[in-house]
Amino acid sequence: METLLNRYRNLSVLLLLVVGQLLLLAWQVRAGEDARLLRVWAVTAVTPLARAIEWARGGTGGFFSEYVLLRDVRRENAALKEEVGQLRLANRFLKTELEMAERARALALFRDRTPSKVLAARVIGTSAGLNSRVVFVDRGSTDGIRKGMAVLVPEGIVGKVVQAYPTASQVMLATSQGFAAGVISQKHRVRGTLKGLGSSLCPVEYIENEDKVEAGEWFFTSGDDRIFPRGLPVGTVKTVREGRGAKEVTLDPSGLRGGIDEVLIVVEGVHGLVPDPPRPSSNEVQILPPPPDDIPQEENLSPASRALPTEADRLRERYRRVGDSQGHNFGANPGRPPDFNRPVPASPKPAAPRPQEPPPPEVQP
């Protein structure tokens, strides 16, 4: 046996390594587990290096490029070199500062505006794979990040956390293969499932051919996936055509159009509303506001009828009020029917709160 192993040593080692890794793969797939220890070691080993490089790049990159630029200017024009260099340096510095401030302001604005509780994070690296669509961010489980949390930017959704390590988290981008999110169209409220395929555009599946979707229309998160809160922008429709069995819709994800540096991780999601599409405005054609419904407006309804869920219930309530105002009891006296053309009396409004009586003047002794 030993001789046999020695004779086929190379092949034995190869088989051992391949079979070992196959077993590891099989265990992960079958048990739904992950070789977490291995990942934690690797991420913990790489994250500090990535952070250090990022820090060095941020601190010295700008200075270095400006220095090189300054040297070139000196060569071209010795007399103006210092002034031009200083001005360019200051200009670039201010521009960068402005861009950073704008980005930070947009993020802060969005953070204040969104009802969800979010945590800002910085992208520190991509995943180790060809055409990788997974990134690492500098927030981990110690910051409260958990697997499955939604990641977004003010422009739209970015992806979701697929692994949370102590010092960093791994975020699967919306364009990544295996990504899925429930979406709803803004104009026609058509629901579908956004899927990542590994390319820059994402298909939206499960839309019937009969459903109406237009090119350029916005899609928002529907909240059905229980990951992304409802009402976050997802992207615009790039192409739409009828397919076999279902409509073929591709989306251009708005959150990934530019590079992503800073992102927001939704720690506690609160569902919002999908905004109505903007109305077409024109100076030449006057468009009236939509006509009022015959149905009583919400504010005119009594608290009881406000709870009426259907049109039939509201109609019944209206007839009851007409009957009450004319002393007619439906079903009791088969006499003359009430006059339904008379105006419907307004529902009794709750009594206005009495103004608070001023406190009695203090009597001075």
Binding site: Q21, L22, L24, W41, T126, L130
Partner: protein, 178 residues
Amino acid sequence: MTGYDDRLLLRTPSKTRIARYPAAVWIIVPLVAILFQVYVPRFVVALSYLELPLLATIYFSLMSRRPVTGSVSGAVIGLLQDSLSHQPVGLFGISKTLVGYFSASVSQRFDVENNLLRFLLSFFLFLFHQILFWVLSRSLLGAALDLQIPQTVIYSFLNAAVAIPFFQILDRLRSDTR
């Protein structure tokens, strides 16, 4: 056998030199290659086609000329790469183990210090790695991964082109030989 064949095929034992490297090189080079792949494509998207960990695997396997060393180094680099990706650990590991094994096996027969041979080997081994990865992903994980042949061939060519200077830089780290 022609003179050109003589340049490519190893016929004398004197040419079967086993390159040796300081221990630090075995650790630092794969780490730097993986860090490069994790970090650089963020800023230079055009460089995301580079598979430096695979090139490092090919180089160390070719130069060690030992299938066992090639397989083990491929497995270690692949597993490290796997652990930084979002897929189950083992896919890159198996692919690079086989690449390491085949590279080292080839190096026992050919003069792997020849740049043309290095280019061809890198080209075909990259192609083999990509196809193997695709096959494993589909068969073992059932992933609907898309294999774009023209793009993969172009990437193979580009990686092979980068492999030549990359291998020459690594050659300088040798503490050599026999």
